[in-house]
């Protein structure tokens, strides 16, 4: 097990090297210039040249790339051009909203998705099954950004029940924070729940066809007991996989939700950083989200072992 773990972690290193190189080259080869944006529309060409020099952007690209590798190895992600602080500090400041949003959306997704999947599977072919799966299908098909806009319009502007957008930390004002989080978490979670519901259903179906379930039924075990006691635990592995994948994806990618609901998280940070060519921030956020993504995948793999004793790693 330990040897396996070490091997898996070592295997992550080349992946991260690929990520680092791709992101560096991509962002530096993009047309656009952070300096022209920073100095404003009326800046003159001489001003722009001087500032490029002071940021080291006039050096050859390979030189900048190797400097970048060196800094990353020392744990230094550089300094944001725009935000006047080290990238690591900027990342830490934005991590909380994204983590909270991810957790809430995941909660919503699991709370809607898993029960729907189980019910649909238990009553396969019934009206319930059809209605739930139609809902799940719509959940996949409805464009999330469009749904968010309609939510804001309906619940914030028309009905006035919830704030339109914004963010407050749960540590500061828990009640207000919850109100801010409802719409984004629901509109993001709804999309994700569709996926979880469908996977849960098909995994449950598969398990329900196994012999031991038939045995349990034959023994006269109630439907509820069969489903909860026997079937669900065995359907859990793929469900956990998809929840893990969902989580990895949410962390890096609640971008559109963060933009529409004005949540100051990592997603919004990186989009604005791409737009204004804040190279160090783009590199930093991608590095961290990519690392989170591969680590979560690893964790999911390892979790299998605990849930399903049939899986062994050597």
């Amino acid at each position: 097990m330990t040897a396996y773990l070490i091997r898996r972690v070592l295997a992550l290193l080349p992946v991260m090297l690929v990520v680092l190189t791709i992101v560096f080259l991509l962002i530096h080869l993009i047309p656009g210039d952070p300096v022209s944006v920073m100095l404003g529309p009326d800046a003159t060409l001489a001003q722009i040249q001087a500032t490029r020099q002071s940021l080291g952007l006039d050096r050859p690209l390979y030189e900048q790339l190797f400097k970048f590798y060196g800094r990353v190895l020392r744990g230094d992600l550089g300094r944001s051009y725009f935000l006047d602080r080290p990238v690591t500090v900027a990342l830490l400041e934005r991590a909380e909203p994204t983590l909270v949003l991810t957790a809430c959306a995941l909660l919503v997704a699991v709370m809607i998705g898993v029960p729907s999947g189980i019910i649909a599977a238990a009553y396969r072919g019934s009206v319930w099954d059809r209605a739930l799966m139609l809902g799940a299908l719509l959940g996949v098909c409805i464009p999330g950004f469009w749904l968010s806009l309609n939510f804001i319009y309906l619940f914030a502007v028309r009905l006035g029940w919830l704030p339109a957008a914004g963010y407050t930390s749960f540590l500061v004002e828990p009640a207000a924070a919850l109100r801010y989080m409802v719409l984004p978490a629901v509109s993001l979670g709804f999309n994700q729940s569709a996926l979880i519901a469908r996977i849960s259903r098909s995994c449950m179906l598969e398990v329900l066809q196994q012999d031991y379930i038939r045995t349990a039924r034959a023994k006269g075990l109630s439907q509820g007991a069969t489903i909860c006691g026997h079937a669900f635990r065995n359907a859990l592995v793929p469900v956990i996989t998809v929840i893990g994948i969902t989580m990895a994806i949410l962390i890096g990618g609640a971008v559109v939700t963060e933009i529409v609901f004005n949540i100051p998280g990592l997603g919004r940070l990186i989009v604005s950083a791409i737009m204004r060519r804040d190279y160090p921030v783009v590199q930093g956020v991608v590095l961290v989200t990519a690392a989170a993504y591969v680590l979560i995948n690893l964790t999911v793999d390892l979790l299998y072992a605990f849930i399903d004793p049939r899986i062994r790693y050597d």
Binding site: D42, T44, Q47, A50, E93, A156
Partner: protein, 522 residues
């Protein structure tokens, strides 16, 4: 021209008096201190260093923290701010400024001539306006703790106005800060003399400014950007809300007290919202297509004239303004009507001719055979994209071929510096307070207006100090502009802001928002 100029000044003065009177009458409720003012704006400033960038968001924010020697009054004329008074020597070459005494920086230190010299020297090396002025300065030094002296190489008419412009302005920092950060490096310690001091800056979350209790206000009445300033609110919290629809929604729901840069379509709805009201921001920009006169197709003056002759400005402006006449103004003057000293009313200029036959004739004379014209614009500023798209259709109707290239703003501002990359690009011309500050009439700004005659007039304008003669030169420059067409002037566009009804005392007449003298009635 002179007479009409005088007439306008008088009218403007009456209007100003009338407005102040009306303001006083309606402000029956007296100002009170306290409260948190939440302001939604569209993004993050690249810096809080006024010397360093021309970005308008930096201008708005830094003017609450810092002050310069001069400021602008209601009619956009220079008035003293940190300066007490000034004298000019007989030969016009030496300006002596007396500073106000007992002015405290946010760190408790008193402001003296040393700080002024260090700050303005830094500003003179970095700022667009500072460099123009300091190119003419022979020596700038402290005479005594409350007196500074500026010796000029030659007589120029732009000393006070340059010190008064609010954009990229000559903010006074403590000497230690001005000297520690070289001009190309933005400052990261924010200490000024303004009515608010920076408390906290959390990028993409908020910028908090709190009242500076030791602020010493001028005794004059508030006027324009200058005069007496009182910080009534305890705190201004600037919250970046990049999505425009969200900004509007947050004012409606009361999550914001004030929002800037809204989409004009929200105007009607804001009028119907009981607890909020729309505010029309005048002026915002005049829309402009800047033409590349260094390389490519647009070096051909006939082709530039054809573009100018072809466009029908009113429908374009009306569409950009969301169909609302409140939000645009048809004007050919290069200076806004809000700057009465430089606003011109010349008739018969070839502006907004929408003469298709003339355009076609000019195209023929130019020898144009349908080569695509690369026209760059961006959606990050929606109005730019809108007028570019409408322009494309109008130009193609007379025989142009327009290759409309939509890109993000950071690509556009980079690419426009490269004379090989484009033929035209969109932007907006904001408020300039002196004829020599109009960047599109210089050879050092994208588009490269290096025409000798234009530059010669610019030079004369810089040297001349008699206001009447300067105005006459400016009228000549305007006529010359419409003949040589360095850029295409469209109409004036206004901006939309929204305030909760609890926000009182807001000066609606300034180009950019200011929150000193504003109080909350909650």
């Amino acid at each position: 021209m002179d007479r009409s100029g005088l007439f306008r000044t008088v009218v403007a003065a009456f209007l100003a008096v009338g407005l102040i009177g009306a303001g006083a009458a309606s402000a029956a409720d007296t100002p009170k201190k306290g409260g948190l003012l939440r302001v939604g704006n569209l993004g993050e400033p690249p810096a809080l260093d006024a010397h360093w960038t021309t970005a308008s968001i930096t201008e708005t924010l830094t003017n609450h923290i810092y002050e310069g020697l001069y400021s602008l009054d209601e009619a956009n004329r220079p008035i003293p701010m940190l300066a007490e008074s000034h004298t000019v020597s007989r030969d016009g070459l030496t300006y002596t400024f007396k500073l106000r005494q007992g002015i405290k920086f946010h760190n408790g230190k008193e402001m003296t001539s040393e700080d002024v010299v260090a700050s303005l020297t830094r500003w003179g090396k970095q700022s667009v306006y500072g460099r123009i002025l300091f190119a003419k300065v022979a020596d700038f030094r402290a005479v005594d703790p409350y007196t500074v002296e500026m010796k000029l190489k030659e007589r120029v008419g732009i000393v006070l106005i340059s010190l008064a412009v609010p954009n990229n302005f000559g903010a006074i920092y403590p000497k230690e800060i001005a000297e520690r950060f070289p001009p190309q490096t933005k400052i990261t310690e924010y200490i000024g003399t303004g009515p608010f001091k920076l408390a906290e800056w959390k990028p993409d979350q908020y910028i908090r400014m709190v009242r500076f209790d030791d602020y010493k206000s001028r005794n004059e009445k508030a006027s324009g950007y200058g005069g007496g300033k009182t910080a009534y609110v305890d705190e201004i919290r600037w919250i970046p809300v990049p999505d425009v629809a969200t900004r509007v929604a947050q004012v409606e729901t009361g999550e914001l007290d004030f929002a800037d840069d809204l989409n004009l379509d929200a105007y009607e709805r804001l009028k119907g919202t009981p607890n909020a009201r729309p505010i029309i921001g005048t002026p915002y920009y005049w829309l402009v297509a800047v033409l590349n006169k260094k390389e490519g197709l647009m070096t051909n003056q006939k082709l530039r004239q054809a573009w100018q002759a072809a466009i029908d400005v009113e429908p374009i402006m009306k569409n950009v303004a969301g169909g609302k006449p409140e939000f645009y103004r048809m004007d050919s003057s290069l200076a806004f009507a809000e700057v009465p000293a430089w606003h011109t009313t010349i008739t018969g200029l070839p502006w907004n001719e929408h003469n298709k036959d003339k355009a076609r004739r000019l195209l023929r004379e130019a020898g144009y055979t349908g080569e695509p014209i690369r026209f760059m614009t961006t959606q990050e500023y929606k109005w730019m994209y809108d007028f570019a798209l409408l322009t494309k259709q109008q130009l193609e109707d007379v025989g142009f071929t327009i290759d409309l290239q939509v890109m993000d703003w950071s690509t556009l501002v980079q690419r426009r510096n490269n004379s090989k990359a484009y033929d035209a690009f969109t932007t907006g011309i904001g408020n300039f307070f002196d004829p020599t500050h109009h960047v599109y009439l210089t050879c050092i700004w994208p588009g490269w207006t290096c025409d000798e005659d234009i530059l010669k007039l610019q030079d004369e304008l810089a040297r001349e100090i008699d206001p009447k003669k300067r105005f006459a030169l400016w009228v000549r420059q305007t006529r010359q502009f419409y003949e040589k067409v360095p850029v295409i002037r469209y109409g004036d566009l206004f901006g939309l802001r929204a305030a909760r009804t609890t926000v009182k005392g807001f000066n609606e007449k300034t180009e950019r928002i200011r929150f000193y003298n504003v109080w909350l009635d909650k």
